[in-house]
Subunit: 486 residues, 2 copies
Amino acid sequence: MAEDEKKKIVLNKNDFSEWYNDVVEISGLCDKRYPIKGMNVWTPYGWKVMQFIDQIIRRECDDTDHGEVNFPLLIPKTEFQKEADHIKGFDSEVYWVTHGGLNELDVPLLLRPTSETAMYPMFSLWVRSHNDLPLKTYQIVNTFRYETKMTRAFIRVREIHFFEAHTCHASFEDAEKQIIEDCAIMDKVASELCIPYMLVKRPDWDKFAGAVYTIGVDTLMPSRRTLQLGSIHQYKENFSRPYDIKYEGSDKEFHYCHQTTYGMSERLVGAVVGVHGDDKGIILPPKLAPIQFVIIPILAKGKTEMVSEASKELLEELKGYGFRVKLDDRDVRPGSKHYDWELKGVPIRVEIGPRDIEKGSIVFKRRDLSTKAFIDRKDLKAECDKALEEVKDELKRRAEEILDDGIRDVDSLDDGVKLLKEWDGIIRTRWCGEMDCAREMEKSLDKTFLGFPLDTNGTGDLQKEDGNCMVCGRPTDTVVYLSRSY
Amino acid sequence: MAEDEKKKIVLNKNDFSEWYNDVVEISGLCDKRYPIKGMNVWTPYGWKVMQFIDQIIRRECDDTDHGEVNFPLLIPKTEFQKEADHIKGFDSEVYWVTHGGLNELDVPLLLRPTSETAMYPMFSLWVRSHNDLPLKTYQIVNTFRYETKMTRAFIRVREIHFFEAHTCHASFEDAEKQIIEDCAIMDKVASELCIPYMLVKRPDWDKFAGAVYTIGVDTLMPSRRTLQLGSIHQYKENFSRPYDIKYEGSDKEFHYCHQTTYGMSERLVGAVVGVHGDDKGIILPPKLAPIQFVIIPILAKGKTEMVSEASKELLEELKGYGFRVKLDDRDVRPGSKHYDWELKGVPIRVEIGPRDIEKGSIVFKRRDLSTKAFIDRKDLKAECDKALEEVKDELKRRAEEILDDGIRDVDSLDDGVKLLKEWDGIIRTRWCGEMDCAREMEKSLDKTFLGFPLDTNGTGDLQKEDGNCMVCGRPTDTVVYLSRSY
């Protein structure tokens, strides 16, 4: 977008939806003008942010002995159809390749919406004996959904930058341990993104096509709508049977594998934008920032050269410490520079002027709090580390506040309806397990049944709490969340 | 592939084609059993090698101020058709998406064979004034060709892991400078891969669809067939006119941009496999090796624990220096370990036994030369650096020998035909410029016209040499290459 067009846009996060749609584009994360709806262009700044997230995910997967693979994009219809529930879930959502050149293909091919049906025919060749297990793989690839709902950058798109881990195990117990490991990976990734999250087991009617159960990883956007950041699935033998993924156990018998998957996507970028940003633009957590420090020379008459020299020295010193730094020595007024880097969410602006140089100090301006601090040049490395750490902590603190403020516990339908007249967010309550009561909740509260929140102690256990079903009043200890979600 | 099946395969590089097809799979680079012909699975080892190559390319592009972007895979037929020559070149080679879910799409979409027609509608929005130029972008993505020829892993596939740089310039001269820069990037990439190459300007009838001219980057495989590793294209205004990519010059007039592109692909992996490998397996240049050093403990009775401890210490020390190292402490006989790591091309095998520990030394076994050397533990870091450097130099030296031995200068058709009865390779000769003579060369020598070799002095100038056309004998200084190519 041209500079003059950008500056006409006034960002106001109170109108979250419009703010989000504007800020993703004017901060330089993506360009939505590609001639296919829901397929956006990753511009260099946004693509770098995505790649830093990918690096974090890769690091965590490599540390837990996952092997990175890369499977073909196209899947033959014949393979896709082997698992009946799965195809039912995706039938109306996939893109079909029917022609190669001028020829009609004998077997139509589909663009992967996710890669179970691409990978599992190969897993069936790869897994022979119990020595081949666990098989832990992942890939980071483009996937496709023919979305009919309204699209939104990073959040609901038709070409999705996608992470998917697929594992095979000898037993259900081993597969369950994998799911605990997946949750631990999620925790590390979310920590770098400064995004708090909930683990919420989906109700049966909302689980992934083919899964035994699904755990959603949800966060809350400032619009008070939940956003699913990722999902973890227990398949048991649901795919290994139709795809014939068997191993010879130490008992010399053949057994079907137990399988799990774990998916995350570019929605992580959407969450970072939505949760942290403000009326000045996006705010990037230090680990994701393509530019962590931007140096702005404060020029004064007769001292231009001195400041310019000192700025370059500072740039080299910061680079030498391994920080990502940019020196903005453009010939434009300081206000314009501030606007640009605030918009792009650079965590720390470094100002250096003649008086700073004389005093041996520089100024750090924090993007998150807008506070200024004088920094002694002698302690530069330590001060930089500290400043980035403080930004990270502050972003986390605020984001946790958004989430905490966004959940209210309610005992009865009446209380819920009353509350929602003056407040919006996630309703926490209890449910007896009857479908009629679930439907009544959804209808009366005008929210959907998000599912059953897990304890945050890393055990994978569901939250339990004695009480009564919100609708029928029967005693139950099953805690449920309802929300509006993206 | 299962271990027992692998070991049945005898590698013999004299039968290059079979050797290649076997070695890519049993060394663990890819799996060709995916149910679509020409679409292979990248297994973790191969994908790591590809990613190291991608990293080298990214480093070079970032250092030359290219921005990395990521464009949608799908291109509307309407955009694709804007440049007439281009679509003619690809018409019969693209995959068509005709349906989204159960609906037929209004406008069919194609899977990018390359991204001119995806990018240029956006470039037309991005480029406004001369201040926006040069625009230098690249992406590393999957591209697709509906190949009808025989496929071969990494060399001729239907889903291609592809690098493509696209640039816009204010003038033809600037665009020409870009092409010189592209050649310099190629040189750095090839150096890390230890692959020598030729820059060969293609004849007009073999240039890229839509290009003004094309420079092919070719290497020679031990089969004496050339392999195009990359290509660099000068478009002038051929695309900027139909896609309306204009800038306002300092003269306040609008001008069409001059454009260039530069492509490389997973063929780089194919070249590394083909050029360096031997009857024991592949040999990886140090920069591409997922494992640079593999430690094999030599166990002896009563000293098992000592050796095991020392091996672990060595592992940690080498990791600490930043090397990629693996300790193979499997309970299998040494011969089996040697077989595995030679097959996978690990540059250096490190052996450590009780006597080595006593003497404070270890043994380096080089994969390329099979030589052994005793290394003083005290100089470990320096010795490791040196050993990797030596492997790199030796791989380069050998590869250059293959290329040098594979080109012969010939003056006349008769000499050429005679030579080819006892020798095969690239024929270097002179050509008058007449199509009839070119056709006659191709027919008599049973080779194709590769093109006009460039001087290797980085100027982009063609090699010139006084002589006579090989066919008609007319005087000419135009040097040409003919070869069989992949």
